[in-house]
């Protein structure tokens, strides 16, 4: 057996502009104003309160299907999305609530979607796994593991084709790295020098399967990018400063050199793969979950950090939390008060040409139900 070396990220020295122990001093973070830092806390807390509220109603049987909670991973979505400019785009998998709220989607439309209501962001047609907001450069919300990875590549291709200086942030889980579509995408990204950043949110378990039982390469997952000549890096996904510093490097590479990056962010989900995952305390110990909640919670860590920096008081933090709870409760009320979609809307949003009543949408029969 060849000896496994410890992972050596392929970034160059000049990109690590700071002491790895303190990403707060990275340029992208040193320039942050207190208001922005508090804003990140607010976004993370909003995501958590939104999901806790959605869980409450899911458990009351108010929603269908699956609910893949992002709780524990909030620093990843908030840290990465905070770097987005006008021509930067996001696409992710089915654990998509965090990214959706981070890009600015409203709690009301997101909650109503979970309740299957007409006021939902996808008019009740997509559900938890399929949030979209192209006006906010947010392209979903995709249900098939790894299926979004070629789409993210396509966003990058589109940007390059149109001569826009932007990038696609394509999120995937640790399970998705074993899908073929991802590997085809990596080769194409490197071959065609496309500005895509693949962000692996490694929450340690692809449903109930550990990395040790799913990956032939044990050190880390980003390392596989070596096989495609793509620069890769790993980062602690619980630390917002580190997430931002390392994502900023990757985005700069995309913007300035039109090159892809694979960035693996170490994170953890407190709940199961979905709420329907009955074994989530069997394939890992309750003690492990408690250890993460106590010592690695991104919100607790960030809140403490801001208090240590003297930019946030205990009272302000509590007020943010209360406001987020109220907002989530109001969103649930909005969702409950909303109407279900009208039956005829089933035939809407299938074909653009039909919806827009064009000539092409009126020649021939498009639907075959009586």
């Amino acid at each position: 057996m060849p000896k496994l070396s410890s992972p050596m990220p392929s970034v160059t020295d000049d990109e690590v502009a700071v002491d790895p122990a303190d990403y707060a001093r990275a340029e992208i973070n040193a320039s942050l104003k207190p208001k922005q830092k508090i804003g990140f806390l607010r976004e993370m807390i909003r995501i958590r309160r939104f999901e806790q509220t959605s869980l409450k109603y899911y458990n009351q049987g108010m929603m269908g299907g699956f609910l893949h909670l992002y709780i524990g991973q909030e620093a990843v979505a908030v840290g990465t999305v905070s770097l987005m400019g006008k021509n930067d785009h996001v696409i992710t998998a089915y654990r998509d609530h965090g990214h959706a709220l981070a890009v600015g989607m409203g709690m009301n439309e997101c909650m109503a979607e979970l309740f299957g209501k007409a006021t939902g962001c996808s008019r009740g047609k997509g559900g938890s796994m399929h949030y979209f907001a192209p006006d906010k450069n947010y392209w979903g919300g995709h249900g098939i593991v790894g299926g979004q990875t070629p789409l993210g590549l396509g966003l990058a291709y589109g940007l390059k084709y149109k001569g826009l200086k932007g990038c696609a942030l394509c999120f995937l889980g640790d399970g998705a790295v074993n899908q073929g579509a991802y590997h085809e995408s990596l080769n194409l990204a490197a071959l065609w020098k496309l500005p895509v950043v693949y962000i692996i949110e490694n929450n340690k378990y692809s449903m109930g399967t550990t990395l040790e039982r799913s990956s032939a390469m044990r050190n880390c997952l980003a390392e596989r990018a070596d096989g495609y000549g793509i620069v890769w890096d790993i980062a602690n996904g619980e630390d917002l400063y580190e997430v931002r510093a390392k994502t900023a490097n990757a985005m700069r590479r995309a913007h300035e050199q039109s090159l892809p990056t694979v960035l693996e962010l170490d994170t953890y989900r407190y709940y199961g793969h979905s709420v329907a995952d009955a074994n989530y305390k069997k394939y890992r110990s309750p003690e492990e979950i408690e250890r993460y909640k106590t010592h690695h919670d991104p919100i607790i860590l960030w809140r403490k950090r801001l208090q240590d920096e003297g930019v946030l008081t205990e009272a302000e933090a509590e007020a943010i939390d209360e406001a987020a709870k109220d907002e989530a409760d109001a969103a649930a009320q909005f969702a409950m008060d909303s109407e279900f979609p009208a039956p005829e809307t089933i035939f809407e949003d299938v074909y653009w040409e039909v919806d827009n009543k064009t000539e092409g949408g009126s020649t021939g029969r498009h639907f075959f139900s009586e």
Binding site: P134, G147, G154, G364
Partner: protein
């Protein structure tokens, strides 16, 4: 009117659309420097360069999915599959992403993408390369699928497909690429969902699509010459959207229908057409609807047998005589 090949008609359609719309880009295996595995894209790379005609590695899931993602941003990719049989490795991208994203986003996103290539048997390449997946695509609301039978239709439908704002699958036929038809020099577009009567008749309707139209036309000639039967040949051209009115009209006219296609019979296109006819024109029928499809087994290699597995003129005539 000049006679041009089915291949050249497609090539002209692609070239004209590349010129017309700066967002049109052709991507596929061997489409650029090799000039196309079946030469459909011949000369386009030399004319339009690297940006508009792009050679992809053998990664159908990757590059088809990439095209779908790019189309969401307003690029209009025309993706070549060397064979539609290779679509299955990209099936998740085509069905789940191109086919469902508009609906699942409540209409916020659309995918103006074309996926094109040959989908036919009859070339002795075995079952893996001889699929006709038009029924699978047609079974997916959100996708459109057309199967041109002539050069004229191939050009007009391709141009409509590229201009359409929904994902359109164009299924061509390698056995037709070298055949010639009259094609006007002036520009024209054939709307999706409009069938075409390829031969007028009064006694029986042969309803077909793709190369089966050509087979049906040959059968119609023999029926007229040897059996004094006037067969009408209706070319569906587009499977979804489907020109249901044209189907019902020809049945109302002849009162007999024989459905001919190279698709498999079970849950194939002809099954849908038969259901439509019995639902909406039952009283017009003087005989049960008959079908002539590919024989219901994987496509056989052996050239002698494969020609029998596909719809033959003899099988069509036999079915017509059975219900005359």
């Amino acid at each position: 009117m000049p006679l041009i090949t089915y291949r050249k008609a497609l090539n002209d359609a692609l070239a004209e659309e590349i010129i017309r719309d700066e967002n049109v880009v052709i991507i596929g295996e061997e489409v650029a420097q090799y000039n196309g595995a079946y030469k459909v894209t011949e000369g386009l790379w030399q004319r339009f360069g690297d940006k508009r005609v792009v050679d992809a590695p053998i990664s159908e899931a990757g590059f088809i999915g990439m095209g779908i993602g790019a189309s969401m941003l307003g690029v209009r990719p025309v993706m070549e599959l060397m064979f539609w049989s290779f679509a299955y490795v990209a099936w998740d991208q085509i069905i789940n992403n191109a086919g469902q994203v508009r609906f699942m986003s409540g209409g916020l996103i659309n995918c103006p993408i074309v996926i094109r290539g040959p989908a036919n048997g009859g070339t002795s390449v075995g079952a893996t390369h001889s699929h006709t997946p038009e029924n699978f695509i047609a079974n997916t609301p959100g996708l459109k699928v057309v199967c041109p039978a002539t050069a004229y239709d191939a050009k007009g439908l391709m141009k409509a497909a590229i201009r359409d704002n929904d994902p359109v699958c164009v299924m061509e036929n390698t056995l037709l690429y070298g055949e010639s038809w009259e094609v006007p020099e002036e520009e024209y577009v054939i709307p999706l969902g409009v069938a075409d009567i390829k031969r007028e008749g009064t006694d029986v309707s042969l309803i077909a699509h793709g190369r089966a139209v050509i087979t049906a036309l040959k059968a119609a000639e023999i029926l007229a010459a040897e059996h004094d039967i006037s067969a009408e040949v209706l070319d569906l051209r587009s499977i979804r959207p489907l020109d249901e009115e044209a189907i019902l009209n020809t049945v109302r006219k002849t009162h007999r229908a024989v459905l001919v296609d190279e698709n498999k019979p079970f849950c194939g296109v002809s099954a849908q057409i038969a259901a439509t006819i019995q639902e909406k024109a039952f009283d017009e029928l003087d005989a049960p609807v008959q079908r002539v499809c590919s024989l219901d087994a994987p496509a056989i290699y052996s050239p002698a047998l494969e020609n029998l597995q596909l719809p033959t003129v003899a099988r069509i005539i036999e079915k017509v005589l059975h219900i005359r």
